[in-house]
């Protein structure tokens, strides 16, 4: 089938503002949006720039705005995009070129929540014991691939780019609710900040945007409850 790709273009060496480029592609119904973007890049305009790697929704490289919604280009099929597929870079992130945005501010927020297990007590031999129930407590938030689809879909983040954002809270949740970790209070202190978890207005955009189907708003709610209950 023949589909029109409408792609927001920006080359920092040439353009002062972004512009819409239009390209026709011949694709199969089961092709991914990523395949269509490749068709443009490989056979029509080699300057089209995007990030991608694994092409099946695990590496998190190709989050972008597709027909108005945040998604991974490798997880949206062409049969689901309609007659025109409109593609833009993630919102509220510094734009580098075409669909590529500067991820550093996003990773800075990730690092701010101490995203690593903190526990000085290491058993002399073997593994730490953890019950199946305790392991299940934070299973959902271990799925995060740091693609930034959630954070950049959040109106609170659009309004205030200092908001730490859902992705960082998801990462904090993964450790706060891991019973092997001993530093929940440190993370909760970070998230109790003016730009922390309270900026979440439970809009649920993050839940819709997450390509890993993490219940992000629920995780944020659990962090809020942990703060309320001290």
């Amino acid at each position: 089938m023949r589909i029109k790709m409408r792609i927001l273009r920006f080359n920092p060496e040439i353009d002062s503002i972004p512009w819409w480029g239009e390209y026709w592609v011949d694709v199969e119904e089961s092709d991914r949006v990523l395949d269509a973007l490749h068709q443009v890049k490989w056979y029509q305009d080699g300057t089209l720039t995007l990030r991608r790697s694994c092409a099946h929704g695990i590496c998190g490289s190709d989050a972008m705005v597709i027909n108005g919604r945040n998604a991974l280009a490798c997880k949206v099929l062409m049969q689901d995009v309609g007659e025109v597929c409109q593609v833009e870079p993630l919102r509220s992130m510094p734009l580098i070129k075409d669909l590529v945005v500067d991820m550093e501010p996003f990773f800075a927020k990730y690092r701010a929540v101490l995203p690593y297990l903190i526990n000085d007590q290491i058993p002399e031999s073997g593994e730490r014991v953890q019950s199946q129930e305790a392991r299940a407590r934070f299973d959902d938030t271990t799925k995060c691939i740091l693609c930034a689809a959630c954070t950049t879909s959040c109106p609170s983040f659009w309004a205030n780019e200092d908001y730490i954002g859902p992705a960082a809270i998801v990462q904090a949740h993964r450790f706060i609710f891991d019973d092997r970790d001993t530093a929940a209070d440190l993370r909760l202190r970070v998230l109790n900040d003016a730009d922390g978890v309270w900026r979440c207005r439970t809009v649920f955009n993050c839940v819709q945007a997450c390509p890993r189907e993490i219940d992000v708003t629920r995780a944020i709610g659990e962090v809020k409850l942990a703060l309320m209950s001290g």
Binding site: N11, P12, E13, I14, S30, R32, H38, K41, W42, Y43, D45, G46, T47, T49, L50, R51, R52, S53, C54, A55, H56, G57, I58, C59, G60, S61, K75, L77, I96, K97, V100, M103, F107, L114, P115, Y116, L117, I118, N119, I122, P123, S125, G126, E127, R128, V129, Q130, S131, Q132, R135, F138, D139, T142, K143, I145, L146, D178, R180, D181, E213
Partner: protein
Amino acid sequence: MIHTHKFETIVVGAGGAGLMAALYAGQGSDTAVLTKLYPTRSHTGTAQGGIGAALGNLEEDRAEWHTFDTIKGSDYLADQDAVDLMCEEAVEVIYELEHMGLPFDRTAEGKIAQRPFGGHTSNFGEKPVRRACHAADRTGHMILQTLYQQCIARNVRFFDEFHVLDLLLGDDGQATGVVAYEIDSGDLHVFHGKALIFATGGFGRMWEITSNAHSLTGDGPAIALHRGIPLEDMEFFQFHPTGIYKMGILITEGVRGEGGILRNREGERFMERYAPNLKDLASRDVVSRAIYLEVRDNKGIDGARYVHLDATHLGREVVETKLADSAEFCKTYLGIDPAVEPMPVQPTAHYAMGGIPTNVDGEVQRSAQGDVVPGFYAAGEVACVSVHGANRLGTNSLVDLVVFGKRAGKAAVAFCNENDFAELPAETWEPTQAMLQRMQEHTGQYNVADLRAEMQALMMDNVGVFRTEEGVEAALARIREMQECAGDITVMDKGKRFNTDILEAIELRNLLDLAEITAASALARQESRGAHSREDYKERDDENWLKHTYASKVDGEISLEYAPVNISIHHPKERTY
């Protein structure tokens, strides 16, 4: 603009091996990690089923059984002393990952959960054993995340989106650094180091149907090859039996580990004929060949080039909890729910057993005699220790990258403590800049995507699961023509900022250079062993071919040398499952 940096240890690649190496190198030397992606985008993250170690959490298991399985799986081409060391050290390193916070699934007693996997047995081949430690079917994701988390905790210095284009060797042949292209700015950076660790992963993008990411273009081994380093056992490339039909996306072996069954168009469980004992859990080369033979015998589903992987009898809970990601791939890309419908699968290019030759400390060897390049290390899929020989067992790639990433990192620290910075060669960035300029200015007649697609189809047909002299020779001749064509392309993007157009052209050259080495090594090996299956030489030939290939390219000519295999533990036997 040229930038220069000085670090004691420079790690190239930030997947499991690179991050593990960086964690250890960083404990005793000033360390930098360069990656052409962001670390969390690395392909380790897509590994699904598990990481093997004889913890014995659910039944008796021993490292020596793991060693035996690995050696047998390798079709006796693995170096047995190295395998023994890996399987012994695997146990401690799994505990180490758990201590770092890796969220393994748990047994009822709260220990690390384990499941069966292809080729892993108890008591030297007697019956399947639960050895694969898993975190749902996203074990690789958890390993990558956990190692990256630890790097953040320890302030490891990262240079993200830096694409390494050249290896700098000193006057005496020692490693002195790399030249990297900063993707965002287009600037070149010279990294001067004492120790250099390559952990750039594999090169599955050489084939049409592959589980590998677009980024897996063999940059590390190609750069080493260009600087005169030989590549070991390149004829051995693993085709995983269960890639999604036409797409190549991996469906974990964990499906069969949990009880999934392969069926042909008649609904027959055909693996019973090929591997009466282990059946669907025979090792990957065996199962991939069986699928090809079924398809050739017109027993593919509807006569097409695929078979069914049936998990419908496992129950929804197993499918949705233990095999969640695979189930989700099927739903997203095929609209199939594996709890009620079988999955269409075909073999998919998956893993390089060959690569840059190293010893067990990750030291890179410059010849088949085993002499090393001072200061140069490699670990993970890019390296050939060799612990996988002619065919890797499932879960052992993850074992390899943590065990040997750690060993390379420690060895780098020891090297840094004993050595000063060696002088950089007279020319550092100049040849790279000249190459980039030439590529960008040249207006040629060929298109990178066309050449890449042709190479991928050519390798799939002629240097894939089955090979013949005629087919490999034809492929080799065409690859050599295509190497010429790759010098006559047009790079459309003439800018400096984030120019992935020029990087794709460079990646294609790297793949073609490795395709040439792969085909030449495959042509020479007149036997069938593991993943290298010659239709004109159907038997394994230990008398003539129980040896490692070292292929290098000197003055435009490929030269092949051979080195003996360490067979100090198990004498080679006929391999049946």
